[in-house]
Chain length 490, copies 2
């Protein structure tokens, strides 16, 4: 535990190290620290020092027999040797004056065996007061600005989103998905067993970090006494930065799994939920959902309330979307009389529904109609947000049937229409594009639409479930922002 200023000065060195030693690295890319060496070389980090007495070179770089043989300054060592050798490797780091050791190796307290627990305790005692540990049993740190990476996703752009994760797998997934969605990252930290530096330490750092604006957490549980620290840190931050949390170990069996994974105590999920709600945390239950909510927070206005308008084609589809939204606590209220009249003027066909949900039937084929309908709806006083849904297989099917339709032109006009509404609306408009087929061809069609919208900064959703969860988080963030004492940025 150190105070905030110290925390920043101290951990800045971890994310911007003068040199990195890779203990146990070799040419085999799938073992130990070698995969980190490979990733760091490709990411372009310049001062890398493999340490391995059995080789002259690793991945083309000179190998040192001992860490203290390295001539340059080393602030971070990544240790990937068999667990029995880890304490000795840490002693070497101390001798060299390294500030941080990231232990990739697993097989410590998470095994639940006496041997594993003792080994971890030995490690902590060796390090105490001399060097800070990340892990063991983790992927360590990722920081695109300083070219530190553990994956081959170098297309990652730096940005203001951070993640602290008790799972290396979920953290890697976060980095990969962020790259696909061009979401910029400040820092990702995989803490594993968190025998020394823990989630709270990194959270405190990220709350003060000027490079970070939004924080995601994947939490399995806390070590004894850590919980109170954690909640106090969040309370003191006054909701300035949005914090999204995926909490695992929600049930007794889940909690037991958590203990086998990172030796954490999951605690009661209902207590977590109640604390999270008081503190204005945004709860998610997957990495996808976390990233989709973050992108929505960055690109959409917050809704003023829970009243949603649903626009699309298909009676059954309109009903099931309405059901889904209402079950989450949203309202799908009847529109104002004048809005209904405007809608009926646009959708003249029998079989349309104008009250809300709005089934625009075949009128929704024309993007000009969609534009007019969306403008009519966002002006309605009974509505706080809009969900526009469309089955992307509909147009190609019509065309196949022999209708005279220019699918490409319609798609282009639709993007323009939605863009136009978005630029002129203080209410969020979320697009749900579904594909009813699971064929590769249908997925291609869907993803080309997604990419076109994404190119304009509009993130679309593949299901109502996903859109509804995002909308719920926008709604909660709006409530948090209004709490007395809250100082928010979005």
């Amino acid at each position: 535990m150190f105070d905030q200023i110290e925390a920043i000065t101290h951990l800045d060195r971890l994310f911007y190290p003068r040199g990195i030693a890779l203990i146990g690295a070799s040419d085999n890319p799938v073992r130990g620290s070698s995969s980190f060496l490979q990733a760091l070389i490709e990411a372009g980090f310049p001062r890398l020092y493999p340490v391995n007495p059995y080789f002259e070179k690793a991945m083309g770089l000179k190998c040192y027999a001992n860490i203290y043989d390295i001539p340059g300054e080393v602030d971070l060592a990544i240790i990937g040797v068999p667990r029995q050798l880890v304490p000795k490797a840490v002693e070497g780091c101390i001798k060299k004056g390294v500030g941080f050791a990231h232990i990739f190796t697993a097989g410590f307290s998470e095994t639940g065996t006496d041997e594993g627990i003792e080994l971890e305790s030995k490690l902590v005692n060796t390090a105490k007061g001399k060097l800070s540990l990340i892990g063991p049993n983790c992927m360590g740190i990722y920081c695109p600005r300083s070219r530190i990476s553990w994956t081959r996703h170098h297309e990652n752009i730096s940005g203001d989103v951070a993640l602290v994760s008790q799972s290396g797998g979920h953290a890697t997934h976060f980095i990969e998905l962020a790259a696909e969605k061009a979401m910029g990252i400040s820092k990702v930290i995989s803490v594993g067993n968190a025998s020394d530096l823990n989630v709270s330490d990194f959270l405190k750092y990220l709350l003060a970090d000027t490079e970070t604006g939004i924080i995601g957490l994947y939490l399995e549980g806390f070590a004894q006494n850590e919980g109170r620290d954690f909640y106090n840190i969040i309370r003191r931050s006054n909701s300035r930065k949005p914090i999204l949390v995926w909490k695992a170990g929600k049930t007794p069996d889940g909690a037991r799994a958590v203990n086998s994974h990172t030796a954490s105590l999951a605690g009661s999920y209902s207590m977590f939920r109640s604390a999270a709600s008081q503190l204005g945390l945004l709860i998610v239950s997957s990495i996808d959902e976390m990233i989709e909510s973050i992108l929505a927070l960055k690109t959409l206005p917050l809704p003023g309330g829970p009243r949603v308008a649903v626009l699309g084609i298909g009676g059954g589809q309109s009903v099931s979307i309405t059901d889904h939204l209402s079950l989450l606590g949203f309202k799908v209220p009847v529109l104002e009389r004048k809005t209904q009249e405007r809608i009926t003027q646009i959708t003249t066909e029998a079989g349309t529904m104008a009250k809300n949900p709005i089934d625009a039937s075949v009128a929704s084929v024309d993007p000009q109609n969609i534009r007019d309908l969306l403008f009519a709806i966002i002006e309605d006083k009974n509505i706080d947000s809009v969900i526009f849904h469309q089955n992307v297989g509909f147009l190609p099917m019509w065309k196949k049937r022999g209708a005279y339709i220019d699918v490409a032109r319609i798609r282009k006009d639709l993007v323009k229409a939605v863009e136009d509404v978005k630029e002129n609306s203080l209410k969020p408009v979320l697009c749900v594009f579904t594909s009813r087929s699971n064929k590769v061809e249908a997925f291609k069609e869907w993803s080309s639409i997604r990419d076109t919208f994404q190119g304009k900064g509009i993130y679309v959703y593949s299901s109502i479930e996903k859109a509804a969860k995002v909308l719920l988080n926008l709604h909660i963030r709006n409530r948090v922002r209004r709490l007395p004492g809250a100082t928010t940025r979005s």
Copy 2:
């Protein structure tokens, strides 16, 4: 209302008509009954009679000015004319001696307007005792054995699965997905406003129908007094055929949407749930889930209880799957000591978890290991079913990193391993293959694996959410089968 024998004799003629008249058909494939004519021609139904006084021909077939000009026998008329003209068209059908009129046209009681309600009531009175109505506001019937289709999915094979739906959109989705998964269909019926023949009539028919073994229902609600009939029909069937129900209109807003869609009264969802549970109905909440549950019922043994083993790679992933299963009421219990020992002999690596969930870590790259692990697990007395999960991007990533891996061979061996276990197991084994990327390339990879397994009769799931819902329905079906008086087929 007619009794069971009558119902069958009567409705057989609807599904196996001697001739079909298409009232209002023209060459424009996206309007009225023309799209039905187009679909029927392509499906190869031989005795089609377009009726339209303004044209000589429609889609290459001779047009009749009046239905009673048709020389052959006509058992079914599909009516797609403006709503004001529908009652007159029905009168023509009666004059011709047609037994069934399917009204595609919308704009009746579902509009909630006096005009619409009166028009529907006029229709019903005209038909009463002379002809049976399907609809209005619906897609009518689909029967691959008799070559009756409303879509262009002619690759549909006939089989023993039926659906009755209050949404034409959802019914079409069902047919499309069934085709993709090579699931054979007996009959699909879209009933729309169900002004005459309703869900209960068709359900009674399907329960007696020798071509039908499993029944799906998409229900929005009932007309006055229909509910009791419906539940009595199901009660009397003694759970012989599995019945899967998606009930919409679960909330006040959803119920209002239902009323705008098909003029039905949704009723209380909690009352529906309690009745459904007593009657052994399997509840689903989407068409995907319905089809996935049906295919599981057809291809997997039923689990003897709620205890699941979870096998795969990744600690975080194992935890979140365990959480998800436990939240649905499943148990993920600790395995027997001897099973844990067998697992530890196979997964020698540190960082594995052997208790359950089982994180086999890198050992799961070798299909022989997966085979051995699965055999060890299904023999465990604490376990009723198994979920095996794998991220399909893992192998290609390792290969990219430079590991010596023959991805194609490993994939082939994995299919063989799972097939082998499936053939020798009385417990269900469900495969969850996830793709962490949303790129087209990743989807191709995923779908090629899915198709290979599907070719062997093994249906795989793209998420734990989907697999868990399917497993829940297998579990409920097993309980239903054991109820006193139940006479089941699967």
